[in-house]
Structure formats: C-alpha cells, structure tokens
Symmetry: C2
Subunit: 227 residues, 2 copies
C-alpha cells in the first residue's frame, strides 16, 4: 500500500499563521500521509520525502522541518528511506510518499463495495480542525484552552492508525479518511456504489467545546470541512 501527498504554502498552510512552527509543519506532512495509509488499514513501513524550498529559507528552519518529519515518522514506526531537496522561487512545496503493508492474508479498507442498508460511522470528534483553521485564517491567536485545542487539531492532527486497524479487525471493509470533510467522503463511498446516504446533523459527534463558532453552526463545520 502506498500514498503520496503534497502540502503547498499559502494553500495548505501559511507561515504567518499565529504559532506557525516548522517542526509542526514537518509533523503534519507525515501525518496527512500516515492518515491516508490508516484509511486503508495499513501499517506504515517507510517514507520518501521531497522538499522544494526557497533559497532564502534559513538552515534553522530546514533543520526544524526535517526534525518534525523524522519525529512523526519514528513515532509511527516509519523509516525515512530517502528524499530529494530542490530549490524553488515559489512557495514551500512539501511532498511525502509513505509505504505500508497489511497483515498477511488481510484485505485493505477501501471505498469500494458499500451496500444498501449499512450504517455510517465516524471516529473522533468533528469540527475542531475546521474551527482552528478559521481562527488561524482570521490571524487571531487562540485565547482559551478550547481555542488552543482547535488550533492543535488543525496544525497537529493525529493519524488514526490504531482506529483503522481496530475497525479492520472488527470486520469493517469499506472506509475512507475525512480530510475532505465527512460529507464529501460519504459521497465518494456511496455514489460509485449507486447508493444514497442519510446523515443526521444532530447525531454527528461534534466537538463539545465548539458550541457555535464564528457564526457558523458547528454541525456545518463537522459535516463539510476538512478534518
């Protein structure tokens, strides 16, 4: 099993976000890829990292970026097997490819094969990452413990490798990650199977601290925004 993901400055992150840190950025690069693997029920084994960086970037920043990458890789048992470093006249563009495997004889989780009548489940509490992004894009430093936890959910997401493996062992066959939002992911699973889906906004496991957030009902964040 293999996955590749790229993060582009000013699209996926901004250096001027309050609390921005290159080490966190490195960790997040690994996390988005580890999450993709998790969604397949695979165990990460090794990674390749390719960074396109402006020449003006300090070696201090580059060191921290690599440290974050290495730290998150190690935490999830993934070896950095190689990489590439390029100059760019544009935004930081960070790519990682991660390879993993499945326990022998077991099948990966995929989006294919959903059947009519099945229940839809989701792990974790929804909406924090979206609320954190709104704070950051508003240029506001998080002021309360709740706000800090939202920003953390955006900047330092945790790949759900364990949850995926528990689900796989429990017999779940169809799954996806909700980095494009729950609504979009359900669509990706249901539509090719010729199915519709019902989601009940008041039954979504919304992060309790959200309440109403910046005038947007929390369930809208939970349903439509990236996790």
């Amino acid at each position: 099993m293999a996955t590749v993901d790229t993060m582009v400055e000013d699209i996926d992150f901004r250096r001027r976000w309050p609390g921005f840190d290159f080490r966190k950025l490195g960790r997040r690069l690994m996390t988005i890829n580890l999450s993709d693997l998790a969604a397949m029920g695979a165990t990460p084994r090794y990674a390749l990292v390719s960074l396109a960086l402006p020449r003006a970037l300090s070696t201090w920043a580059i060191d921290r970026l690599y440290a974050g990458i290495a730290q998150q890789a190690q935490r999830f048992g993934c070896a950095i097997a190689g990489g590439d470093l390029s100059a760019t006249r544009g935004p930081l563009t960070l790519t990682a490819a991660v390879f993993g495997d499945l326990p022998k004889g077991s099948r990966p989780l995929t989006r294919r094969g959903a059947r009519a009548g099945w229940r839809i489940g989701v792990t974790g509490r929804l909406g924090s990452a979206a609320a954190g992004l709104k704070l950051l894009e508003g240029g506001r430093r998080p002021a309360t413990p709740a706000e800090r936890s939202w920003v953390r959910a955006q900047l330092e997401p945790v790949p759900r490798l364990e949850a995926a493996q528990i689900l796989r062992r429990a017999g779940v066959r169809v799954a996806g990650d909700i980095s494009d939002g729950l609504y979009r992911e359900v669509e990706k699973i249901a539509e090719p199977a010729g199915l519709g889906a019902e989601l009940w906004a008041d039954e979504l496991p919304i992060e309790a601290s959200l309440g109403r957030c910046h005038g947007v009902a929390a369930w809208r964040l939970a349903l439509f925004d990236s996790e």
Copy 2:
C-alpha cells in the same frame, strides 16, 4: 528500492523554452526517477505522482502532462499506482516516487565500496544535454540536426535501465548516475571511500557533434554539467 525526485518550474525547466511541451515534461519527470532506479540496478515496478499546479493551467496542458507521465511509465513497465493533485500560487512543482526491485539474491548498485586501483567508466556520449540546456536558456530554437539532438538530450533523456542491468550482471558493484555531472558523481563515490580519482579530459566519450560549443570547451560540459 525506491527513489523520489521533484522538478520545479524556472529551476529545472521553463515553459518559455523554445519547443517546450507538457507531454515531454511529463516524460522527463518519470525519466529522472527511472534513471535514479537504473543507477541502483533495479527494475521499476510502480510510481506515485504528486503535482502542484497553478489554477490557471489549462486542462489541455494537464492532460498532456499526465499523458507524458503515463507514456514513459508504461514504456518502462512501471504502473502508476496513485497520486495527488494540489493547487499552487507558485511555479509548477512535480514530484514522482518510483519503486522497483532487484532480481532475487542480487545486490543493488551503490556508491559505497569503491577500492583503490579500480577503473572509472561511463556509458553514453557526454555533453549533449548540457549543450541543449545552453541553447534553451539562450532562447534560441535549435537550427541544425546536431542542435536538435542536444535539445532532445536535455528535454527527453532516456533512462539507462538496460545499461545498469548489464553492468550489474557483469559484476559491477559501485555506480551512480551523472545527473549532477560526471565530476561531482566521481567525487561522491571516491571521497567517502577515502580515495582520489584521475579523469583524463581527452579520454572522455564526448558527443562528437559538440566540437566547441558556445565558447565552452566540450570537455568542460562533459565533465561538470548535468546529464
């Protein structure tokens, strides 16, 4: 065996080069990675491709880019196993990761383990790609068959997968690719082994059509420039 490489617009290529074409660009993205694998004596199996593209890029251009990638991958027996597409406000930034394997029981070619007294060899004719780059950077369309062949060597290099496998079977153990130039590659092999190297400029297999090129002696291109 795995390898990853990134090409950045205005660093590794320019859209305003005479004869620039997105299909060739896609082929070249695969080639630089296939060449890295070749340098290890491995056979390519599958690839992941991650492209960061400006929103203004036409779907026509994107189609051609993917077509070039697919074409070159297929030509060398490599399956495109997945990918990622990102928006960027900066230059096109194209990354491919390629995975390959070695025949059972055989060892990869590496830069490690050179011994004193060994001979240094190189495959192919040197200098064309560098001469082609000089033409392109000068904004001049190639006018003669020789000039066209130099530009082709720059824009459409051929990965030396077969040469690498012949060398491996012949018992060669230490090798590298000369995408940073022959001089630099010999340095990368010799220095960690605590060795020096002698290269004879008049024995380099220089592309005959080069003669003297733009006032730079051909052997300087052959020795120091990227192939």
